[in-house]
């Protein structure tokens, strides 16, 4: 299993004790999280830092597309 270095050392040690074969990767290196929402006239989107350029734009586009559709 690979975990991010943001986990405290105590957690990592405890997991190893329970038999997990752990590899510690860089902070913010795993997972891809993004979200988009339409709030009145505002489109909001956010993504996790640094990893996926453009994801936010994509989410915004998708939200825009949906809101266009619902207006028609």
């Amino acid at each position: 299993m690979t975990v991010e270095g943001r986990f405290p050392p105590a957690t990592i040690a405890a997991l190893r004790r329970r038999g997990h074969d752990l590899e510690v990767d860089a902070d913010w290196s795993l997972g891809r999280v993004s979200a988009a929402a339409k709030d009145g006239p505002l489109l909001k989107a956010a993504r996790q830092p640094a990893v996926h350029a453009g994801l936010c734009d994509g989410k915004m586009m998708a939200a825009l597309e949906r809101s266009d559709k619902s207006r028609r």
């Binding site: 405290p8 105590a10 957690t11 997991l15 329970r18 997990h20 990893v51 996926h52 266009d68 559709k69």
Partner: protein
């Protein structure tokens, strides 16, 4: 998608893409470079076009073949998008554009590629035939909608079992039975429980998921309280599980297949961590019929379309697969100088599995020596790791044979027999 669900014209979407590819290029984010580095050998040997690009990077003395944070332009892809956009705008233009895609120069290129290009797929046999693009249709009605759960306050929807989306839902269904409320996300108990539930859900994915047009997937059962409470959740123990433990749902699921990865065990895990997943896996064929690639290309559909037990994936492999399915413990048994086999399987222990695995390790090593398994042809130059055979139940990858179907005769894949026949054969093999 655009026709049925979109608001933009094809022109708009493809035009933006073409502009991006011609002018600015697309951003090479760090994970692209990382993933490419992880499977660089594969690109260099099996994707000559892209391999040349990587070689250029190497000549330029870069540490990584595809430099990070550099935008990459692609003029040929831009030209193709322009070509698609050429017919006039409007409804009729859209139809014509779609025709250009399914029956015009794009279809021709696909056909040419399938007929002339030797490519490697995970079976090592290469693509044998594509059904002609004229039979491909976007927006076909799916036999099932998205998978959904109401466990959470907001209904949560994921793809149907043609993707791995429902795994997340099953993880939630499993986690529902644990009291995690007081725990922080950094608590070892929390991480352990989430991870162990993930393993169970993914094991079920391996055993049951597939394209619902071809396989009947027991989605309701998989997400049901009954199944997750009674059968699955109690498998979460105090210790980390290292077994692949799919559940048992009568009438569903299929035997595992056996794949071989070149290099050491750690390579497999490493590739997985970078999202490069299965690219380094190969089917174990044993020595009873690894077809020459050219031969294979002419006569075999790609592995994805081939049920177990056909075309050289012979009885020995079936037997092995069945035995491995009954063997839960990872075993590492040195047998040949370069071939160790790690067999990983399903339920109760069976001593036969290790022997069968060892037999196949020998066969694989032999095949590698004879260069009969294309993916293993570098084994001689890479004495490092053992050959690893990993037992993964993958029912979904198999489709029945076309009933006398032939791509030149234009018989679409609708002509495949009903999914029922897959299950029947899977049942026997188990």
């Amino acid at each position: 998608m655009l026709r049925d669900h979109g608001t933009m014209e094809l022109c708009g979407g493809a035009g933006a893409g073409a502009r991006l590819l011609r002018t600015g290029g697309f951003a090479v984010v760090p994970n692209i470079s990382k993933t490419i580095e992880a499977v660089r050998d594969l690109f260099e040997t099996e994707w000559p076009e892209f391999g040349r690009h990587l070689a250029q990077g190497r000549r330029a003395g870069r540490r990584q073949a595809v430099r990070q944070s550099r935008r990459r332009r692609d003029l040929s892809a831009a030209a193709a998008r322009d070509e698609i956009r050429r017919p006039a705008a409007g409804k009729r233009g859209s139809r014509r554009r779609r025709r250009a895609w399914y029956g015009g120069f794009v279809a021709e290129a696909v056909d040419r590629f399938c007929r002339t290009q030797e490519v490697m797929d995970s079976s090592g046999a290469g693509i044998a035939a594509c059904s002609p693009p004229t039979t491909w249709r976007a927006g076909r009605p799916r036999s099932s909608g998205p998978a959904a759960t109401t466990i959470t306050a907001t209904p949560l929807r994921k793809t149907g079992p043609w993707g791995q989306g429902p795994v997340a839902l099953q993880q939630l269904a499993l986690l529902k039975g644990f009291d995690l409320d007081g725990l922080s996300a950094e608590d070892p108990d929390f991480v352990h429980t989430v991870v162990e539930c993930a393993k169970l859900a993914f094991a079920d994915r391996e055993a049951f998921y597939g394209d619902p047009e071809f396989v009947r997937v027991p989605m309701e059962t998989l997400l049901s309280d009954g199944y997750n409470d009674d059968e699955r959740r109690k498998l979460v123990g105090e210790r980390a599980s290292r077994e692949l433990r799919p559940g048992h749902i009568p009438g569903h699921g299929a035997p595992p297949i056996v794949r071989v990865a070149r290099g050491a065990e750690v390579d497999v895990a490493h590739a997985g961590a970078h999202g490069a997943g299965e690219t380094d896996h190969r089917s174990v064929r044993g020595d009873e019929g690894v077809p020459h690639r050219r031969h294979a290309r002419r006569h075999l559909p790609s592995r994805r379309h081939r049920p177990l037990g056909q075309h050289g994936v012979g009885d020995a492999e079936r037997r092995l697969a069945a035995e491995l399915a009954g063997d839960p413990r990872p075993r590492l048994r040195p047998h040949h100088a370069r071939a160790d086999v790690l067999a990983r399987g399903g339920a109760a222990g069976q001593p036969g599995a290790a022997q069968a695995a060892a037999h196949h390790a020998d066969a694989v090593a032999g095949a590698a020596r004879r260069r009969a398994l294309p993916g293993l042809r570098h084994a001689g130059r890479r004495p490092a790791g053992p050959v690893v055979a990993e037992c993964i139940p993958t029912p979904c990858a198999f489709r029945p044979q076309p009933a006398g179907g032939d791509r030149r005769a234009g018989i679409p894949h609708r002509a495949f027999p009903e999914p029922r026949s897959i299950r029947a054969s899977a049942g026997r093999a188990m």
